[in-house]
């Protein structure tokens, strides 16, 4: 067997050498093994401690150390194996330390054996060489070898023991550290393979988000938990080992455990999506998880769902007087607010419908959006109406949006075109009547038709657009005048005059309407320009292009209506059609800037609504046929109508100023004549009144109760005192009378009360009535005295006012007189009213001249009312004359806080809001019974 080991070499006598090797390793081998094991343990421990740092370099160092230990063991085994194979190694490594010269000689003898064996006879006899070698090996001292082996064994054993003890000490000091370290060393993708327990769990709790208003509750490991998004999860426990960086992780997000101040640790985690939460310890880039995760499913807070009855749908506004909006909003947790959102073109308006506390998961309501709503009136583009609801999620606003109701407003100018058609038709019928008369044919039918059509035209309001007041009255007057006509030569002349008068008025109307419609179309063109400019910006391109298309549709439709409004309308309609074509071409070619330029030019043109071709000054000689359909061209009636309207407007405004000047004169005079005695007396009375009511009940009692009446009397008395202090005696008297009335009311309630305890306080009612009556009497006397004195003091001003009043009265009278003699453009009832106004103004002048200012002022005010009613519409009337305006009050739908208007006090707002909610909730339900619909309308009226 041994020979075989050296088979590749010439045979040497190795028995001695083999004995040497065996003797050595028999003694030293076990010591080496122990030493290596001790070293391996130490290396492993060190590698673990290094790896526990978790960094890449530390882990690399740990692994390298382990590899080194393994390599060392392998090297030892290799040494042993090579000694067995190579006799020279045994000589050099084992014999040489014992006897170096001998070992040298042995080596040379071995070499000689090899040479003789391999080189042949020329090197010598192999046998002799072997004998020489044997002789040399026979000198080896086994005693020395064993002594040396023993020494080595002891050394190795000592070293191994020391190493082992040290390593064991380290391990015993922190036994988890070695496991952690080795765990970290063998981690993959930042996660150690061996789960470890880090915390002794005390509690795991969940606190839902505030807006959900849930209570804190426990969660459990090992089962699937379900919690709302935003829930705070708290894990508390006692760490099993200190100095670890403990965390709670969902795989991507980690929160640290911090001390809870009671010896434990806690981690707070906000749930934003479903997660398996692991407790882990972090070692650098590596974590070691605790065995069981906390499985939590996140329940998302969904956006509110809003339903709007009938949506999605389009409504042409022509067919509506109001848009009923019945809505229902729900949320998985609770609603915070509900808003009505109106969008048109680039405009958006939000109006708060309901403000809630965030706990109501379900809310419904109804309202009516009137056609006169300012937003609808001011837009000419389709209006998208949605109801949007917001939940109470504080982490981010979640809006739910209902499908949209799209309101398609009437074409711009549609109402004007229909109105024009009506009056033009009336004119046509009148002309037919005239044709019959001129042809001396029976004309009764044409006469009836014409008069009926005139009546209809004067009264009609297509799409809510009635005729301007003066124009309607003019038609009415013509109708009355013509209805009195008899068949005669004068009658025919009057009919001709009426035809021409109506013709010129119709022409005037068409020009005014065409100009108005043109300006409205300019607004649409502005919107198109704005949309085209915004679509030039990439992020708004699609929206901008949609707006352009909508605008073009509205513009084209409006242009068609405009073209029906007489000659100017036809001319401007052509311009609009051409403009629409140019904008469309530019838009379709994708050149938004060009489309914007085309729109800008059209807008500029439409804001200057003149004929396409006009020559200032008439362009030379006139032609008889040029009177065709020109405003006032064929008749003086149009001009007369304009004159009367202008004159009435002037009189109304001058008369109003006159009234104000009389009031001012009286007021100034009152201040002048107020003697020191009256002032002193008023002050004293005010103080007495205050002290009297000081003990009366204050506000806050149930409405309708005796106490509330007493409280009201107190407030009115205080108001009277305040007025007396400021010498506003009329106001003081009103307040005192009001207080007396309240006390009377309290007294009556007391009498009708069934509860003996519910009676008025006699000290208040009886005493108060006495004192207040006395104050009232004094105030009346003082006012009368002051009035007389102030009238005397202002006598000169009143004299002037009376003269001016007479002049205004005369001017008013002249209007009616001239109209009666002239074309008769005023209807009979209006003429009567103006005559009455003139009479009252005359009487007012007389009263003012006689220093009876109160009567004079009263008459003046009555006359002013009549004049204003007869005069042309004011600017505000004109605004309401726009096609979308309707009679009745404007919408008072609740607006956002940005909206203008009076704001009630906080308490009032809260109660109003509660009331609104009750009504809206009620409207959201079906109302049974025959009066259900009427009730709904009443309730909607309340909301408005």
């Amino acid at each position: 067997m041994r020979k075989k080991r050296y088979a590749w070499r010439p045979v040497v006598d190795v028995e001695v050498l083999e004995r040497v090797r065996e003797s050595w390793w028999r003694r030293v081998g076990p010591a080496w093994r122990r030493a290596w094991l001790a070293l391996a343990l130490a290396g492993l421990t060190l590698a673990g401690l290094l790896g526990r740092r978790g960094t890449v370099s530390a882990r690399f160092a740990g692994v390298s150390l382990l590899l080194l230990i393994v390599l060392a063991g392998l090297r030892l085994a290799q040494l042993w194996a090579r000694q067995a194979r190579e006799p020279e190694r045994v000589v050099r490594e084992l014999l040489a330390p014992l006897d170096h010269p001998l070992s040298e000689r042995v080596l040379r003898a071995i070499a000689l054996v090899y040479a003789c064996e391999l080189g042949g006879a020329s090197y010598g006899n192999p046998e002799l060489a072997r004998m020489h070698l044997r002789a040399l090996l026979g000198r080896v001292s086994f005693e020395q070898l064993e002594r040396r082996a023993r020494r080595r064994r002891v050394g190795l054993f000592t070293a191994a023991t020391l190493t082992f003890l040290t390593t064991a000490g380290v391990i015993l000091l922190e036994p988890r550290a070695l496991v952690e370290g080795l765990n970290v060393l063998v981690s993959q993708r930042g996660l150690a393979p061996l789960p470890m327990t880090w915390l002794e769990l005390d509690s795991v709790s969940a606190r839902p988000p505030v807006h959900i208003r849930g209570t804190e509750h426990a969660l459990a490991f090992g089962i699937e938990n379900a919690e709302p998004e935003g829930t705070w999860i708290t894990v508390r426990g006692t760490p099993l080992a200190f100095g670890r960086e403990l965390r709670l992780s969902d795989g991507t997000r980690e929160v640290s455990f911090v001390s809870d101040g009671q010896g434990g640790v806690a981690a707070h985690y906000q749930l934003d999506r479903s997660a398996k939460l692991h407790i882990l310890a972090r070692f650098g880039a590596v974590s070691i998880q605790q065995s069981e995760p906390l499985d939590v499913k996140a329940l998302p807070d969904r956006s509110p769902i809003v339903e709007l009855e009938g949506a999605p749908r389009s409504y042409p506004l022509n067919d509506l007087l109001e848009v009923p909006l019945k809505w229902h909003a729900r949320d998985d947790h609770g609603l915070r607010s509900v808003e009505l959102v109106l969008e048109s073109g680039g405009r958006e308006e939000r109006r708060s419908l309901v403000r809630l506390d965030g706990q109501t998961p379900d809310e419904s309501g109804a309202l009516a959006l009137p056609l006169r709503d300012p937003f609808l009136r001011q837009t000419h583009l389709p209006v998208s109406v949605t109801i949007q609801a917001r939940d109470d999620d504080s982490s981010g606003q979640k809006w739910g949006r209902s499908p949209a109701l799209v309101l398609l407003p009437p074409d711009v100018g549609e109402a004007e075109a229909q109105r024009y058609a009506l009056v033009d038709n009336a004119l046509g019928k009148l002309t037919d009547w005239l044709a019959q008369e001129l042809s001396e044919l029976p004309s009764q039918e044409q006469r009836s038709l014409a008069l009926a059509q005139l009546r209809l035209a004067a009264a009609a309001s297509p799409l809510g657009l009635s005729l301007p007041r003066e124009f309607a009255r003019f038609l009415e007057a013509q109708q009355q005048r013509l209805s009195r006509l008899r068949a005669s030569r004068r009658g025919l002349a009057a009919l001709k005059e009426a035809v021409l008068a109506v013709d010129s008025a119709v022409a005037l109307l068409s020009v005014q309407d065409a100009q108005k419609v043109s300006r409205r179309l300019a607004e649409i063109t502005d919107e198109i320009e704005s949309a085209a400019r915004s679509s030039a910006r990439t992020e708004q391109r699609e929206r901008g292009r949609e707006r352009v298309v909508l605008g073009l549709k509205a513009l084209a439709a409006g242009g068609r209506q405009l073209a029906q409004l007489g000659a100017l309308g036809a001319d401007l309609g052509t311009i609009v059609a051409a403009g629409v074509a140019r904008i469309s071409v530019a838009h379709q070619s994708g050149n938004d800037a060009r489309a914007a330029r085309a729109a800008a030019f059209l807008s500029e043109r439409l804001r200057r609504p003149n004929s396409s071709f006009s020559v200032a000054g008439g362009g030379g000689r006139g032609r008889a046929s040029q009177g065709t359909r020109s405003a006032g061209g064929g008749s003086s009636a149009g001009a007369q109508l304009q004159r009367i309207s202008a004159e009435l407007q002037r009189i109304a405004s001058e008369h109003q100023r006159e009234i104000e000047s009389v009031e001012r004169a009286i007021s100034d005079a009152e201040k002048r004549v107020s003697s020191a005695a009256v002032t002193e007396e008023a002050q004293q009375r005010a103080r007495r009144l205050r002290s009297l009511v000081d003990s009366w009940p204050a506000a806050g009692f149930e409405p309708g109760s005796i106490r509330s009446s007493e409280a009201l009397a107190r407030e009115q008395s205080l108001s009277a005192a305040d007025a007396m202090e400021h010498l506003e005696l009329n106001r003081a008297l009103d307040s005192v009378k009001g207080a007396l009335s309240s006390l009377r009311e309290a007294s009556e309630r007391g009498r009708s009360s069934r509860h003996p305890d519910d009676t008025p306080d006699p000290a208040i009612v009886e005493q108060g009535r006495g004192v207040l009556s006395e104050h009232a009497a004094w105030l009346e006397r003082a006012i009368a005295r002051l009035s007389v004195e102030s009238s005397r003091s202002a006598a000169r001003q009143l004299e002037g006012a009376a003269a001016r009043e007479r002049e205004l009265s005369e001017r008013t009278r002249l209007i009616t007189e001239r109209d009666q003699k002239g074309a008769g453009v005023l209807p009979d009832d209006l003429r009567d009213e103006l005559e009455r106004a003139a009479r009252w103004m005359r009487e007012a002048a007389g009263e003012l001249g006689a220093e009876r200012t109160a009567n004079g002022l009263e008459l003046q005010r009555k006359a002013q009312q009549l004049i204003e009613r007869a005069g042309p519409e004011s600017k505000s009337d004109e605004a309401s004359e726009s096609p979308d305006a309707r009679s009745g009050p404007r919408s008072s739908l609740p607006r956002d806080t940005k909206g203008s208007g009076p704001s009630p006090s906080t308490g009032d707002a809260a109660s109003a809001e509660a009331f609104r909610r009750r009504v809206q909730r009620g409207l959201g339900h079906e109302l049974p019974g025959p009066l259900g619909e009427a009730t709904r309308r009443y309730a909607e009226g309340l909301l408005r």
Binding site: D319, L320, L422, S439, A578, R605, V615, R623, S625
Partner: protein
């Protein structure tokens, strides 16, 4: 650097010198502000710049836009070159290109604010407009209102014939394409040309030849149309004169020649020579209302009134006629040549061609105006006076006319006859009254009475399409060619009107049918277009009382 700036400055100077006297002054002021040290700069570059600027200026005057483009392509980049490019874009009808190049170029805007302003307004007015290049005919149209394209066959025919006539009479041919903008209203005319809108409205301007283009108001813009054919020929003549004289012809020569040329492209028509220019000029001179051909200002469109404009036109035309009469027809061509290529002053040119300087010619002309009128002129004066008798109709006349018109429009032809006839007594030259009365008579079956009511064209104060159409119908028996001439005359005034474009439109309501064939191609599209553009009356609808949503 200095050398470069000097070159640019010279280029600018010459460019502006070719544009306006005001620009010359600005240039002088600008040059005077240059530091004196710049005088030391090499004169070679300066001369090159001057030469280039001069060539560019001549290129614009001759309307040789291709040549200008080449010159600018080889020029040194700078503010004046950019300004010239913008101007070239305007000449080529590319208002948007001019506007975009100037939008952010404040230097150029300050150098030539007028170009910048016109470019901006023109770019707005023509954005999305319909451009129709006709390479074969050498014409280029742009319609602000796409519906006006229907007039294109008429426009092409007139433009080509006017070009031929002007080339023949003035000895110069316009480079092609000839660009014609047809605009929808006076505001657009003002935007495309730079003429103030107020001025256009004051004088009733309907077309302008500027920026190397003709800008023509669409006949659709005026309710009853206007003689747009002669107007187009007039403006084309302006361009030819500008080219022939290198834009050196004074305004009176420009306008006088253009007025002379505006009817020479076609056969004579009824209203030609009315009013007689010499008679108008003579009356103005004798009454002290003369404007004076050398006091026309920068444009007739800027005169204070339409009457002043009419006198100015008459004076300019009669002076040019007088000059041509005295010096021979060819003298006009020679005069333009002397002013242009000859580079003579006006006085020198007139002396060279006609033997006298301008002042002498002016004196001779005034003397000629003072001589008694010829028999034909006297007749014209009397006719004009007769036409002017109903110049100021009374209110009663208006009322009768309006009543008659209303009854006529309602189809009450019998009833309309009396008021129309009464109105006609007071206004016998009113064409509308005449044709309405004639049509009413025709409806009653009295053809002779209709002819009497219609009268002859000499009785009319101005052309009217409806009158022409009815005249065509009444003369159609055995006189089809004459009838066609009347129809063409109607189209020459109001091609957009249904009564002019559709043969049956006027007669159908009378219960009659036209005896003439309908218009042939390419004019056959006029009738459907006229019908389409007729405004429809709104339907009378019941007023809704209670609304309920309905789905659209």
């Amino acid at each position: 650097m200095r050398r470069h700036s000097r070159l640019v400055l010279c280029c600018l100077g010459l460019l502006l010198a070719s544009c306006k006297p005001g620009a010359q002054r600005r240039l002088a002021a600008l040059q005077s502000t240059r530091p004196s040290s710049s005088a030391a700069v090499s004169s070679g570059a300066s001369q090159r710049g001057q030469a280039l600027g001069k060539q560019v200026g001549i290129g614009f005057a001759e309307l040789e836009l291709g040549k200008v483009r080449e010159l600018l392509a080889s020029a040194v980049e700078g503010t004046p070159v950019r300004a010239a490019r913008a101007k070239l874009a305007l000449y080529q009808g590319d208002c948007e290109g001019a506007f975009l190049s100037l939008e952010t170029d404040n230097a150029v805007r300050s150098v030539d604010p007028e170009v910048a302003q016109v470019a901006e307004r023109c770019a707005k007015a023509t954005a999305g407009a319909l451009e129709v290049p006709l390479a074969e005919q050498g014409l280029w149209f742009r319609y602000q209102n796409p519906s006006d394209r229907v007039f294109q066959p008429l426009l092409v025919a007139v433009a080509l014939r006017a070009l031929t006539a002007n080339s023949r009479d003035l000895g110069s041919e316009l480079p092609r394409p000839l660009r014609i903008d047809v605009v929808a209203d006076l505001a657009s005319l003002s935007a495309l040309t730079g003429l103030p809108l107020e001025a256009a409205e004051t004088t009733g301007t309907v077309a302008i030849a500027r920026w190397g283009r003709v800008t023509l108001l669409s006949p659709r813009a005026t309710p009853e149309g206007y003689p747009w054919e002669d107007t187009l020929a007039h403006e084309i003549a302006h361009l030819v004169i500008t080219r022939a004289s290198w834009d050196n012809a004074p305004l009176w020569l420009q306008e006088g020649l253009a007025k002379r040329q505006e009817t020479r492209w076609r056969a004579a028509r009824p209203f030609d020579g009315r009013p007689n220019a010499r008679v108008v000029a003579r009356e103005a001179l004798l009454s002290g209302h003369s404007v004076g051909i050398d006091h026309l200002g920068s444009s007739i469109a800027l005169l204070p009134s339409p009457d002043a404009a009419q006198i100015a036109y008459a004076e300019a035309q009669s002076f040019v006629d007088y000059f041509a009469q005295q010096s021979g027809e060819a003298s006009l061509r020679l005069l333009l040549l002397e002013l242009g290529r000859g580079r003579r002053s006006l006085d020198q040119a007139m002396r060279s061609v006609g033997g006298y300087g301008f002042a002498d010619w002016r004196r001779r002309f005034d003397d000629d105006l003072r001589r008694p009128l010829t028999a034909a002129e006297s007749g014209s004066q009397r006719h004009q006076a007769a036409l002017g008798e109903d110049a100021a109709p009374s209110e009663e006349l208006f009322q009768q006319a309006r009543l008659g018109s209303m009854l006529f429009e309602r189809g009450a032809y019998g009833a309309s006859r009396l008021p129309l006839a009464q109105a006609l007594v007071g206004a016998p030259t009113d064409p509308a009254l005449r044709w309405q009365l004639a049509a009413a008579e025709l409806a009653s079956g009295d053809r002779e009475a209709a002819k009497t009511a219609l009268g002859s064209v000499e009785l009319l104060s101005q052309p009217a399409a409806d009158w022409f159409v009815l005249a065509g119908e009444l003369e159609s028996i055995g006189a089809t060619e004459q009838a066609q001439a009347w129809y063409r005359a109607a189209l020459g005034v109001a091609p957009h009107r249904e009564r002019a474009a559709c043969r049956s439109a006027l007669l159908s309501p009378l219960g009659l049918s036209s005896r003439n064939p309908p218009l042939e191609a390419p004019w056959d599209s006029l009738c459907p277009a006229a019908r389409q553009s007729r405004p429809t009356k709104p339907q009378e609808t019941a007023v809704p009382s209670v609304g309920s949503p309905t789905e659209r």
